[in-house]
Symmetry: C2
Subunit: 394 residues, 2 copies
């Protein structure tokens, strides 16, 4: 197994997700969801955003939510704020909120001037104008380590594709400004609000950042999934990082999400948390998350928004591994999504399904597994060609 | 850019997809879909299967479909048959069907004895019993090159996970049987009917096959997507293959699909063709497919099955790259999936959306792009910090 990086996962469903859903979803339902998410083992949960209720009515009652939900010790709750007014509002609720401070002072910029104008009523120039202030403040505080970063890193719906060369030039510029004042760059963030990530470009970008600046050991990726590339891109990033690196990743339960400013609306959600974390478990990454409880949250969310969402593990269930998770080998046809829910609901979910067999299904392999043995065991020689019935024996 | 393998893509929507949908979908609608798919540039299309109408009523009228559809010259149409009766039925329609013959005589086996019993009323032993016959026939025909392969390669809903070591042992056995008669193995197929693929396991498997037998230059992957891992797994496979290799991949438009025997029903579709091919285009692979026509097919299919499907590119649209594809920078809010369809339907799709700006959005970057220049141009020095307005000039 390759040595993968440490992963910090942040659940964005209550913010990236809810911001594009019906503004009439009740505070009670949002608190129910947030409290259920708190019980899954997720360590970082964004509860919502402190933004203008005029343009984001979905977040109008954020104050009630942060007042009434049940914070779970050990979970880090944050909220998004896009300006000083928002930060001030959020500060009134800390605790339970952690006012999200980047671990490092960071220079950042949108590669797409249009998106930042549409989304935050600022310009790319204004973002860059802040760089000298950020650096001066870091110097005053005698800070030794800093970050660089881009948003809309790989492309934009308004300007098209940005080659990775462009991204590297922008990062290089930021890095050189930290270099000039002798502050070491340890972290690089790359955002993708408009779903232009692809695994090839993310892999190339992370690889080139690490190659150019090996001392950067912290990569932060915020990937949207409008073109179904977020999971593959996350895998690609994990592939090129090592055990001394830390990778921050974000996603939303059910893949919910979207943004009214980017031109894709609800079509630009994020990687479904349940699918992404299930992949990581296969890679040997300890997510600390109870998949069964997480799927409960997805089903709850589907009930709240009134439609099926984009995640897959919540529909087919996790890959069964342990004996108690394996399916009944004699089960009838499972055809619908409702009957597929037997992995949590039990056999009654497929009751009445077509049964096409004349004899019950049996298998010597399942007998082995039922007896606590592996299906195939090279050490004991229990391979088919070691058996009497194998037709082409040595 | 890494050198990726040659990819042969096979569209399985009419077979893997339709076999789990309503059996009452009309022949007319299926022919409409098949004819539309034929116009997209897809080179391999599976039209359906010749199987028992008793257990797969969705394929009962396959004879009518293959009689009435409009075959497009240059497209390879195939049908699945699971036994000699099915092959005989299919043969009556060739042409237009190509009776699918593997390029190589192939030994194959399901890693999961339970699945093959449930799905095809045979046993793993019976699959292996055929191996000597396959080899004898290849010798008689004086064939010099052959294939090996597994199905349910990485795990099963009935037996759990199969470590890659198990897979390699099974392939090793097959390879040694070809070795004994001096026939070279050039191809390896790995199937995954129960969605147990993960990118890490697929990457490891393909890597180990290539490492063990460098002369194998043809890999065939049939990956299901019940746990949302098919696209990442395809990417992982492409990463470890080179330009002298050929990779066969399958998927379905909209990600439609499923199987009544595996225990996941409709929850175990395949990679959405439109999303997978859009990824490949980003990787520089020439798919030959017209994405706009392919999305028409997905929308048509959603109309036929009466619900939204799992693909993403059909909802958000492809990543816009060319000027004529870029979104209007002054467009209003886009919130719903319907309004997101503006990428094909034009501005009327978002007509009446909230317009939050006091002044129209403008950007010097878009002006550049409108004038035919790249957003950033390192050769001309048009980077922000070369401009008068940049706040921290060198």
């Amino acid at each position: 197994m390759p040595d993968y990086p440490k992963v910090n996962y942040k659940e964005e469903g209550m913010r990236e997700g809810m911001q594009i859903e019906d503004s009439q979803i009740s505070v009670e339902n949002k608190i129910m969801l947030l409290d259920a998410l708190s019980e899954t083992g997720l360590k970082q949960i964004v509860v919502g955003s402190f933004v203008s209720p005029k343009w984001t009515p979905q977040m109008e009652r954020i104050d009630e939510i942060v007042t009434k939900f049940n914070p779970k010790p050990g979970v880090n709750y944050t909220a998004l704020a896009l300006n000083s007014r928002g930060v001030e509002r959020a500060r009134a609720y800390s605790p339970p909120l952690t006012i999200e401070r980047d671990q490092y002072p960071r220079l950042g910029v949108h590669m797409c001037d249009v998106f930042v104008r549409r989304n935050t009523n600022r310009t790319q120039m204004q973002e860059m104008e802040r760089w000298p202030q950020v650096i001066a403040q870091a110097q005053e505080l005698n800070i030794k380590e800093a970050g660089i970063g881009t948003n809309a890193s790989w492309g934009s719906n308004f300007l098209g594709e940005f080659p990775v060369d462009n991204l590297m030039t922008m990062l290089e510029r930021q890095h050189s400004m930290w270099d000039e004042v002798g502050i070491e760059v340890r972290s690089c963030a790359m955002g993708d609000p408009m779903s232009h990530c692809t695994p090839a470009k993310v892999e190339e970008s992370v690889y080139r950042v690490k190659e150019r600046w090996p001392e950067i050991n912290h990569i932060r990726l915020h990937l949207h999934n409008g073109r179904n590339m977020a999971i593959a891109s996350a895998y690609a990033a994990m592939r090129v990082l090592g055990p001394d690196d830390t990778l921050d990743l974000d996603g939303t339960i059910g893949g919910l999400g979207g943004c009214p400013y980017c031109g894709n609306g609800r079509a630009t959600g994020m990687a479904p948390t349940e699918d992404l974390l299930h992949m990581m478990e296969d890679m040997g990454v300890d997510t600390g998350v109870d998949m069964d409880k997480l799927i409960d949250c997805v089903w709850m969310l589907e009930g709240v928004v009134g439609r099926e969402l984009y995640g897959h593990v919540s529909k087919a269930g996790p890959r069964p591994k342990k004996l108690e998770e394996l399916y009944d080998i004699d089960m009838p046809f499972v055809e619908t999504l409702e009957s597929a829910k037997h992995f949590k609901k039990g056999p009654e979910a497929y009751e009445g399904g077509i049964y096409p067999y004349q004899q019950p299904i049996t298998s010597p392999y399942r007998d082995r597994v039922n007896a606590g043995q592996p299906a195939y065991d090279s050490s004991s020689g229990d391979w088919p060609w070691k058996q009497d019935w194998f037709p082409a024996k040595d």
